[in-house]
Symmetry: D2
Subunit: 362 residues, 4 copies
């Protein structure tokens, strides 16, 4: 099996693309305000006609961004990052009529559903077989550990269980994580587990609710705040196990995005949503495989900014893989309804998922 | 708005249908055993070529049945009902190549999703707007009360809540139910509510767990068994409210299909699954609108035997509407994965659903 | 860790038990009809006062049964199995007042939640840590493989995926299954996988929907029906892999309970719900550990008839363990709401669950 | 029925409270850092012993806050709001041993579950009867419209459906909302519906995906950003229907808390999580009834800062009611697992819920 499906670029020599006009721009009327009829980008490969049959494949594309085009130089930015006067690409169609082509079927897909008039099993659900999803993911992670950029997006549940927390840390140690994105809760629970063996006061193995344990997470936050940073806390508090300690040892960058649900927050958490998005997007731009575990908020947020493809130095186009692991069909459907149609779901408990990965990869 | 989308039959005068061979049969080798290459029916309109360009639209079609064709007479039966020697139609394709045509697109559908390369909201979920589903259902029920056959398929939860139980009974009283399909539990809970105001010992309004209440359902079953039938029990025990009493007053036929989960069972419950299927299929054959509430088992079972269309005396073809009301995307996906692709989901609590219907229809 | 918590019988020498009256009976008024004020049994250890301070621990107890007491001989039967004149024990209380004592706290439990006024994590959910549940289950299965009776209750999903189907078969081969309870669908999907590598037409590894694949399950059923029995079919059709073939090789008894959802059914499926319950209860009487996967219907049905404890030849009382593996909190809550309070949930996809078990046990 | 259960304060004249020491404080060692053994507050009524038998009932209590005690003056603040030197109350127990008493059972509760050894229906689920929850809520909202502070916490789904959006707006118009808390998405979808009749490009009634509709939400955001504020946009863009317009007309304050999932954001959205928490807590302090719809993030966030009780000018203590409406048991369990044990769940689709409220209240 080829790991990556081959990519076939559009044929720009044939009508209607051969006759397409040049892409147009208009200046932004104000900071963070777009001109009428701006083109909203997708996460699919998109090409802009620069004139004379020269088409430019956008890099670092993302959903709901806009193009700034200066000469042959193209940037994809968030609408809020547009400055007054920036040349914003205009288009409301994606088949070349306005110089923009959205290439929906560039990657060869395995032969799909047969054209039977009637079939069972047309929808993905918890009953869909996932053996091959796992096998493919193992191959991807082995490949991208050396030749890609693997990003993990973690909900807090991973840190509530002893074995899954250990497994996640082992995957980090083994080099399968190039960036970790999460919220204040994941880091807090992980550090609480290191200091108290509990998550929100519950033993992460025996499930016992410890007397007075509801203070453990505030105690954890307080001790780390006193230290001033996670790095100092890990060293001074003698934290040697868990996910954040593994990231620290392996120098894996992390982004902890704040939310209104946070206690504390821990030092290093980015409370401003726009600043947190910017920090996350640094990794979205480079990501080749993303694994998102049990978090709607962070999965949708990162899905919003994630390209569907990457272009390497040689110009080869490969897909970005986006695995979403969750317990409910709704979470996965919701992600698709927000545009992350490329997300490959695995419906299961993330505890089992990471234990599986450790067992097969470490 | 037209209540029913118009139906367009296939054009049999055009190739390849014009050149299709006649449908073939082979004798069943034994009772309940089919010949090789039997045709498995779908719930879509299907046509058989009788020769000389005469095509016969199957009536009372269903998923996973087989055709017995004797001359021009066609019957759709379950495989287990086939007797040795019966002439079973053979086909493994549905585009006329073997004399069978499965007509997947007979009903005009409203203009579907646009051909945009990129779109949000492509999947149905709890976030899908249901206002119009309700409005359409109200119209359907008003129409079919007089001119159709409305079948309700009820899970037990409807009887656990005072207002939803009252609402369901009111819908029966108002003529919106021509047949009621359920299991032992629905009837037991409904009668327990009549006798004790509880469902499995819990007050159906205050939610109080009554002392000793866990005996209430066995007491209910025991009293009814002593009476010998539901009809006698309703009279002799003075049961005047609830769903089963409403059916009794309105002479609405019911089928209570047994399952391994049953206590009792109540007299009248059909413990044999095949016999229960036969009793249910009497109503499937006639159904024009089906409303299934909070039961995977009965919804899938009835969906399996439900035609996707009905043909009236004048030969007009109309769709059969199949509303499925449940709390989880999985239940609805599962139904689709078992072939009931026509099922229209409303994702909500059935308590609210029936209260809504009562409010708008009674 | 002790595998079984020690059991402490009630102290019958102390008031009020020391003063309890003898248990009373009344004759059943008709076949399948109980006298007023019959005692409905629970799945907890229950004792009957036979007089003179002699208390009898009921064996093979179950929820919603009744006691027939003849002299010192006690039987637990389903209400429908009562014959006219049978001496049915009467009681509406369980603290000895009527000679019946329900012993709710016989098994020592680990120190529970602390008496904190305020605590987090008081409810079980997908975020509960399951590492220890797995470890305990591994120990239980190793123990009960030799010294117990392990019963598996399988929903159909286990057979839809290659790795989980293989894992389940391996567990059977390794002796971890003394009885298998399921429905027509599990066996059909498993045999379809053996014959076609599909489940309802979908490849169990690649997920491809095979052309014409929607006939595969009917073809499977038809071939087996032609053979006359599963045993013959496995031999004659050359079926060597999968769950049912493993049961056949290992001579593991199975009960396939029919339901209204069934196609076919396969030969050997018990279509009558009462007869199926009787066949299942043979295994409930002996079960020491039960593992139920992704089936509400069969889990609740088996939970209804399952004792909470077993008494060995030496009179030692041990708990019966009932693991329920499902994706939704609702399924587990529903089981508890039907009385199976002892059920230990693991919230995950059964695919991962059985793969985990194979990895750790085989 | 009394709307509010009576409140019984602790009896401080009896041991051990009569002998309790005075509450102690220690100075905060740094800004946003707490002294060792700080007391973490709960949402229950809590009393501090000021000495000489004088106990002070904390006002505006909340989960995971701390007490600053200066003489007899007590403030509940978030740990991050503590400044160096602030006198933080110390305690790790809540039964008076350290001068702090957590009063867990001040409100009379209806007689609970019976002490039966065995019972069904012990857990809340979608099958729990909700008729009385609705009736109680209707009474509460009628009362608190005049004599309370009703806070709504809205997930985006309310705005996706025509009828539920209209119903929510009608409830605002009718005075049943004193503050609205939501995120960028709710307001964006609501305004998109006003401008385009769509939500993320899908018609909010017909469900049609409009051609090019995936741009509608960005167009909406862009137009509002150009206007500079929601108030100006509502006026200048002629927005007359929907939730935000109703708030504007009724001068209902709103807080739109930003998140990393946001496009835009709209002007007025508070991107900083800490600042958003502060704005939300203004309403938490005063809230008497809270209704949270289909949002885990905002429900948990607001639950974290919500008192379990309010004290009026006359010193009367009443409970704060916190209704949480969602589709899954998990969402409700999760809220409880984060400490909001007082949350009363209604498991249903919020579309039906708000339509029900409008029908019964407007």
């Amino acid at each position: 099996m080829e790991l990556f499906p081959p990519y076939t670029p559009p044929d720009f020599t044939r009508s209607p693309l051969a006759d397409a006009p040049q892409a147009q721009t208009a200046p932004a009327p104000a900071d963070g305000v777009l001109p009428e009829r701006f083109h909203a980008t997708s996460n699919l490969p998109e090409y802009l006609h620069l004139g004379d049959g020269r088409w430019l494949l956008a890099r670092e594309g993302r959903m709901d961004g806009v193009y700034l085009l200066r000469g042959d130089e193209l940037r994809v930015v968030e609408p809020r990052a547009v400055r007054r006067g920036d040349p914003v690409v205009l288009a409301r169609t994606g088949r070349g009529e306005e110089g923009v082509y959205v290439h929906a079927d560039g990657f060869a897909v395995p032969a799909g559903a047969p054209a039977d008039e009637f079939a069972f099993r047309t929808r993905n659900s918890r009953e869909t077989p996932y053996s091959r999803s796992y096998d493919l993911l193992y191959d991807l992670l082995r490949h991208d550990r050396q030749q890609g950029h693997i990003v993990w997006v973690l909900g807090p549940a991973v840190a509530f269980d002893r074995d899954s927390r250990d497994a996640m840390a082992a995957l980090v140690e083994a080099g399968y994580c190039h960036a970790l994105l999460a919220g204040n809760a994941l880091a807090t629970h992980d550090l609480e587990a290191a200091l108290f063996r509990t998550g929100l006061g519950q033993d992460i193995y025996t499930r016992e609710l410890r007397p007075g344990g509801h203070c453990n997470h505030l105690d954890t936050i307080n001790r780390v705040r006193r230290c001033g940073s996670l790095a100092v806390a890990i060293r001074e508090l003698g934290i040697s196990d868990g996910i954040m300690a593994a990231c620290e040892r392996q120098q894996v960058p992390w982004v902890l995005a704040g939310s209104i649900r946070d206690d504390g927050p821990l030092p290093g958490v980015i409370a401003d949503a726009c600043a947190a998005q910017d920090a996350m997007r640094v990794h979205a731009r480079r990501a080749t495989t993303v694994v998102a575990l049990a978090t709607q908020l962070h999965s949708i947020a990162f899905g919003n900014m994630l390209p569907g493809y990457q272009v390497d130095a040689a110009g080869t186009v490969r897909p970005v893989f986006f695995y979403v692991v969750d317990m409910s069909e709704f979470s996965v459907d919701k992600l698709a309804n927000r545009g992350s149609l490329q997300a490959a779901p695995i419906l299961t408990n993330v505890q089992d998922f990471v234990v599986n990965l450790r067992h097969n990869l470490c």
